[in-house]
């Protein structure tokens, strides 16, 4: 399965007799990477599952119009990021009490989540990441955890490399302070 390149997968989906099989391979190739990208942003597994399903359904529906300029990998990351951020925005709109924001809710989830297997330092690190502004969070996660190149990140987030470097620098500094104090 892993030996299929993005081009081969696209060929299977667009020009073979069984496009479903090709798409199934695409899901298998990218599901884990996209899952973790979304999970680090929304924390909850069930929310992540829903978003990830939406990501692949939207990708399937838009495959005909996908021209391959950005690359399948970048394109899927872009959809996943947009879906996760709009999910958080919707969640924000739901909390109309000023003291109850998304950040607190996510922090509570980290505290109570049975699926959280990290130690106390990991818990503090996740809380620090949650406290970052949304875009900085995305940049930090993509660089720190997924070790994505700035050029690629620039295509995913439609932002200049310089701005992304600055954003990552700020985020890493804030988390360093948080972790040091803790």
């Amino acid at each position: 399965m892993a030996h299929y390149t993005d081009e081969q997968l696209m060929e299977l989906i667009k020009h073979s007799d069984n496009p479903d099989y090709g798409f199934n391979l695409l899901v298998r190739k990218y599901q884990e990477k996209l899952y973790w990208h979304i999970r680090r942003l929304v924390i909850d597994h069930e929310d992540t599952n829903d978003i990830l399903q939406d990501v692949f359904i939207k990708a399937w529906q838009a495959l005909d119009s996908f021209r391959g300029e950005a690359g399948l990998y970048t394109w899927l990351y872009r959809i996943a990021t947009n879906e996760a951020l709009s999910f958080l925005k919707k969640k924000k709109r739901r909390f109309f009490l000023p003291w109850q924001d998304v950040e607190n809710v996510l922090a509570e989830k980290i505290e109570s989540d049975s699926g959280f297997t990290g130690n106390e330092i990991q818990r503090k690190l996740q809380k620090a990441i949650i406290s970052l502004p949304e875009k900085q969070r995305v940049v930090f996660n993509l660089r720190y955890y997924e070790e994505m190149k700035y050029e690629q990140m620039s295509q995913v987030l439609d932002t200049s490399v310089g701005a992304l470097k600055a954003s990552y620098h700020h985020a890493a500094k804030k988390i360093e302070d948080y972790v040091k104090d803790a």
Binding site: D20, F23, N24, V27, R28, Q31, E32, Y35, W36, R39, R40, I43, H45, N49, L52, Q53, F56, I57, W60, Q61, D113, G115, F116, T117, G118, N119, I121, Q122, R123, L125, Q126, R143, Y144, Y145, E147, M148, K149, Y168, H169, A172, K173, I175, E176, V179, K180
Partner: protein, 161 residues
Amino acid sequence: MEKDNVKKELREIAPHLEKLSKENPFSVPENYFDAFPSEVQEKILKSRRKQTDPGFYGVPRLAFIGVAAVMLLVAGYFFLLKDTSQDLNGFADEAYFDPQLEWYAEYQSDVYYDIIFDDYEEPQEETMTQNSVEDQIEMDYLIDYSLYFMDRPFDDSSLDY
């Protein structure tokens, strides 16, 4: 490799953070990733069916919903009518039969009339009976008598104390 670049960059910005192990602190349910692709396929199939399915016997789904809504409204209308008649029938049952109630039901509209005109006696046509003729003669006599005394000067000597 990009991994080395990330490590080097982080060491310069945040040396404490760079020393932390980069383990994944979250877990997923067992076999989650094995089952996920078929879940997605199922959802895609469902959405595809929605797009292509014209509804029952080729009737467009929206038209079908419209017809069903009209049928429900009609059924609801008759159901309500039936309910009302049942109530009225119930009122006519023996359990509700009471002569007093029946009287109220028949004369309900006259209740206010009765209240307002309860003390009022309808004027009766005067009939000249024997009694009324005698009364009239007596009255005429008294008037004449009083007029007679009014014309004469008053003389108290005739009064018997």
